[in-house]
């Protein structure tokens, strides 16, 4: 069965530290990949997406992610986190060569200490 794994469930960082959140998926077909963020008390919103072209994609608020097809990975990075990045981050995959079914990871709670 298709799945999305986020290995870090809770991450605590100090401001200005670098961030990398892992995301791996288990599907060999054509996929689109997403990172969503949920700030405390707010809606889930799109952070960035990959669907074709340059595997390094940039999103809002200085986030970026790299699609490595050979590793089935789409890790999220930010060089220097801020207190306002405290949120829950979800990786998601959609199979666009078959079911068009969305699958979300279990999420990573990031806490940034001021």
């Amino acid at each position: 069965a298709q799945s999305v794994s986020q290995h870090n469930h809770h991450v605590i960082l100090s401001e200005a530290a670098s961030l990398e959140l892992g995301c791996n998926y288990s599907y060999g077909g054509t996929v689109n990949l997403f990172w969503y963020v949920q700030y405390p008390g707010q809606h889930l919103q799109l952070l960035l997406k990959y669907f074709s072209g340059d595997p390094l994609v940039k999103g809002i608020k200085g986030f970026e992610a790299e699609f490595i097809k050979s590793k089935f990975s789409f890790n999220l990075r930010k060089p220097s986190v801020q207190w306002s990045d405290t949120a829950e981050y979800f990786c998601a995959v959609i199979d666009v060569s078959g079911t068009y079914k969305y699958i979300f990871g279990t999420g990573t709670r990031l806490k940034v200490l001021a």
Partner: protein, 114 residues
């Protein structure tokens, strides 16, 4: 901006009651989704719909049904609410256009079944 609205932010129901959760989107999106969000489990797809009167089961459809009579509206029905359906319910919508599959989420309905 896409707007996805849900009928209630908080709802308390008794075991055995029939519960209706309503979702409306204003951007003419073809796809609509219902998820439940539980701590440590991420988002789990209950049902989705890619067109009016069409529906597809997600990963956890048991105990739920859906209705999509109009393109902008997607309803989730709990036929006989049970305590294990206490959760946050999220509605989302998206286009059915290549490269534009990102989902837009509503604010969520926190349902408590007592």
């Amino acid at each position: 901006d896409v707007k996805v609205t849900q009928s209630s932010r908080y709802l308390v129901k008794r075991t055995g009651e029939k519960v209706f959760l309503e979702c409306v989107q204003d951007m003419d999106h073809e796809n609509m989704f219902w998820y439940r969000q539980d701590p440590g489990l991420g988002l789990r797809l209950i049902y989705f719909s890619y067109d009016v009167k069409m529906k597809e089961k997600g990963d956890i459809p048991e105990g739920y049904s859906v209705s999509r009579e109009k393109k902008e509206r997607f309803s989730l029905i709990l036929e006989s609410a049970s305590t294990n359906q206490t959760s946050m319910y999220l509605c989302a919508s998206s286009l059915l256009t290549s490269g534009r599959y990102e989902q837009y989420f509503g604010p969520g309905t926190r349902l408590t079944v007592t």
